[in-house]
Every structure is written in structure tokens, then in C-alpha cells.
Symmetry: C2
Subunit: 250 residues, 2 copies
DNA sequence: GTCGCTGTCCAACATAGATTAGAAACCGGG
DNA sequence: CCCGGTTTCTAATCTATGTTGGACAGCGAC
């Protein structure tokens, strides 16, 4: 299968650049350096490991298209997903400075992933403008992690699922992947469960309820939010932690 | 009360420098710049807010002595602690690049905190060696957050408490705050509960069990681990995510 | 020494969510 | 169009953890 989804845009600026530019000003040279990073992206099938805990990968992975997840496995086989990686997200900027991977990363859907040699990465990291830009993305990632801890630790299942949906909605919208209040959510109920520390059957119950009370509809991987404000309130979502601030009316 | 705890060391190198130096080589000039940051530290009482969600603080806070916590409040008043801040930890490096605080920070014990003006911070951040060093700390913080998500999401209360104890043990040891297998743990059972998404009464139950099965003893804010290996195994703790690697035999 | 506060501990009871098992719907491939 | 593997959905049962309420211990202030 060469061409994948029915709706597809030419998207001249790679999502990474688009994302960085919403917040950090980039020079032309920087922009070119970044574009080069995204150049050589490989197709990867769904449910493929990109790196595994314990690896010391010699290159950094960058999502160009499709979804991936960061996860940890427990001795008893349980899995906890700690992040969903969307187009424009680095998978493992860490390896630049940290040694060994402390978690694994796998694609969820078929995806396009850029494999960036460590050396190239170091070169880019040499540019003062770009270290800052990358540091910024790291800080936002951190903020998302904090929000997830709250989600898992103190919200009930209903609130947690609602909150996750709101987050994905805002993040995807900021990358232009939301049309109206509808977006592709290629997640299995089990994957949602693993992200929220729940059981697939309980996620199912919650999803039923979200539908029954007409917050959302979700079929065939397409999710529609019927009343965003109501969902936001019901799940105590506050987008401030995503630091998208001024959507930069460009 | 002027002098607090019985055991206290002169500790000429501020914990921040000690911490950074375990991993990133620093130049003399860098070291001096860092020392300057720690210079003007103020005493702060216990349970004082340093910053609150929504603030746009004009300076960065750095823990020099004592404990603090990062937390979020939910609409229903529940609290989730997302990090414990120990000596040498920055509280809010974020504000350098992110705008508004998306969470609050409060001291837990009486503490010494350096208030670093944003301008000073920017100057320091200008040094290539130091941006990297700071970026490294951010990456480790991130790794800790991921471990916490697993803790809260997929471990049962017993495992979670055990895991937290192991983490604090290793982190404190790396800063020289552990003698034998005993260290000061100035946390209330309620604070532990708020960190793990549990209830104070259930934390109490778990603590009882940890004592009954002689994993630890914990009285008067002093915690002793009786068999570290066993506790590590029982709680599925793997220190790899702290990236302390070579404990730098100095 | 007593008061008042905070933190620990304890017990009885309630419930959100886990577990297990299986039926139905869906999907890609031959 | 059928087949085997996934994913979704349901129902019945069980359990870890939450809730409430109250006793007790430690400790600083007076």
C-alpha cells in the first residue's frame, strides 16, 4: 500500500518545524538544518519497536507521520504507556545526553520515522538557537507527564479518559490534524487502558458512558467531540500545561 | 530554633554543582557562575508556597537545603504531588522558556532556597556548557516523572510505596544524605499519599506491612531500610531511570 | 503540667475498578 | 465470500483501596 489515508495534505513544512515555530523564532539556517533532519524518513509498520529499554541507540528517532507510544513493562508483564508520540515529536532526544534507554518505544500505527544519526544531532545541538528550541520541547513533554500523573493518580476513570481526549484534541489541533471537532484516534481500548492505568473492560464502560451522555462519538478510529466545553468541564481539563499560548495567528 | 538536625556537614560544594558534576564536565568559569547562583539563598519556613499555578515568576528557585514538592490541585480540592525537590534541584527552570506556571511549588520542611533573577539565569543559560548541563537535569526529571506514572498507574499500593522509598534512597545517597541505610524522610503519610494517588489511611496500612515484614523501620522522620535488595525486588525498582550510572567513585 | 495541634493508627463499611470468560462485530487476506 | 485474528462489548463476581470517624501519641507554647 503506497498511499495510506484518504485525507492527506501536501504539508510543505514538516510538523517539527511547524511545532517549534509556534513558540521559538528560528533562523533560516536553523530551519534548513531541521528540514534536513526530517529528510530521510523510513516507513515503519504498526506495532514495531523502535527502541527497547536497555538499548543505547546510536540515533535519535523523530516522528514524521503516524503515532507511537513510549512505554514501560513491569516484571508481571503489565504495561504502562507514558506518552503518545505524534508527528513532530522526538522519540528519544534523551540519548543525546542520557546513556541507556530507561523505557521502550513502539509505533502504534504504520508510521514515517526519521532516523537521525547521533553525530548529526550533536551538530544541530551545537546551534544555540536550536538547543533552546529542543529544550523547550523537552519542557513541554515534562508538563504533559505531570498532567498524566494527576490523571492517573487522582482522577477517576471517567475524568481520566475525558482528560486524555481533551489533551489529544488540543495537541492534534495545534498540528492541524483536527477538522471541526473530529479527529483520527488510532488507539485501541487496551492502549487507552495502558496509558491510564485502567483495564480495557473498564475503559469500555467509560467510553460507553461518554457516548451515552453524548460527550463524544467514537467509531472506526474517528472521534468526534460533541460539546468540547462540557467535556472540558466534566474532566477538569485545563490546557495551560500544553503551553500553546497564543496559537500564533500566522 | 536555629540549628535543626543533629547531623549536618560543612559541604563546601553546593549540591547543585556536586550533582551536575557527576555527569557533565564543568569548566572553572562555569563552576564559578553556578556558585554565584547559590550565593543568595533565603530561609523559608515549612509549608510555604514558593510559586503558584498561574504565576509568571520573575526568578528561578533553586533548592539549597530542605525539601519541597511540586503539586497540582484539582477542582475538588484533591492534591497530586508530582515531584519531590531535594537540595540541588531547580524548582522551575521552566519559566525560562515556558510562560505561566502550570502547577504550584511549596516547601515541605524549613528550607534554604536561592531566588535567581531571570536575567542572571539567562546569562548563565548563555554558556554552552551550562545549557547542556541544565538540559541534562531536565531529562532526568523527565525520567523520574515517567517512573512515577508507572508507579501510580500500574503498581499496587505496596509496590508503589516501596518503589518511592527506593527512589528516594538512591537519590539522597547520590547527594550524600544517606548514612548506612538510614536517611531523614521528612514526609507526612498524607504527603506520601498525595504523591502516590492513595489515601493517607491506606499509606498507613502499607507502612505497617512494610514494618511488619521488616523491610523498613520509619519513626520520627528517620527511615531505615533493612534489606535493600529485598525491597528493590518486592517493589520492582530499577535505578536505571535515575541515570546516575557510575556513582563516580570520588 | 495542661492545652491544642498535627500526625499516626485503627476498625467497620462502601465502592470503583479488576478479573474472568465469552459472545458479537470488524478487518484484512486468500 | 469465507476464515482467523483482533477488537469491542457484556455480565457476574471479587478485591484493593476509599471513606468515615474516632482514639491515641508527640510536641511546642504557655
Amino acid at each position: 500500500m503506497a498511499s495510506a489515508s484518504p485525507q492527506r495534505e501536501p504539508a510543505p513544512p514538516p510538523p517539527l518545524i511547524a511545532k517549534l515555530e509556534t513558540r521559538v523564532p528560528l533562523r533560516d539556517a536553523d530551519r534548513r538544518a531541521l528540514a534536513a533532519l526530517c529528510a530521510d524518513a523510513r516507513e515503519v509498520g504498526p506495532r514495531r519497536n523502535l527502541v527497547r529499554e536497555g538499548d543505547r541507540p546510536d540515533h535519535v528517532h523523530l516522528m514524521v507521520e503516524g503515532w507511537a507510544a513510549r512505554y514501560k513493562l513491569l516484571p508481571d508483564g503489565a504495561r504502562q504507556i507514558t506518552a503518545f508520540l505524534l508527528p513532530g515529536d522526538f522519540c528519544d532526544l534523551h540519548v543525546t545526553l542520557l546513556g541507556e534507554m530507561d523505557h521502550s518505544i513502539a509505533t502504534l500505527t504504520r508510521a514515517k520515522v526519521a532516523f537521525i544519526p547521533r553525530a548529526t544531532m550533536d551538530a544541530v545541538t551545537g546551534r544555540p538557537g536550536l538547543v533552546k528550541a529542543f529544550w523547550w520541547t523537552t519542557l513541554v513533554d515534562e508538563a504533559v507527564l505531570r498532567a498524566w500523573i494527576v490523571n492517573v493518580g487522582r482522577r477517576d476513570a471517567f475524568g481520566a479518559v475525558g482528560h486524555l481526549i481533551c489533551e489529544l484534541y488540543v495537541r492534534l489541533r495545534s498540528v492541524g490534524l483536527v477538522a471541526d471537532h473530529r479527529f483520527a484516534l488510532p488507539l485501541t481500548q487496551e492502549e487507552i487502558a495502558d496509558a491510564l492505568g485502567l483495564t480495557p473492560v473498564h475503559v469500555n464502560r467509560v467510553l460507553q458512558r461518554l457516548r451515552a451522555e453524548s460527550f463524544i462519538s467514537f467509531r472506526h478510529g474517528l472521534l468526534t467531540i460533541h460539546d468540547y466545553g462540557r467535556l472540558e468541564r466534566a474532566s477538569g481539563f485545563n490546557p495551560n500545561y500544553l503551553h500553546i499560548e497564543s496559537p500564533v495567528e500566522n
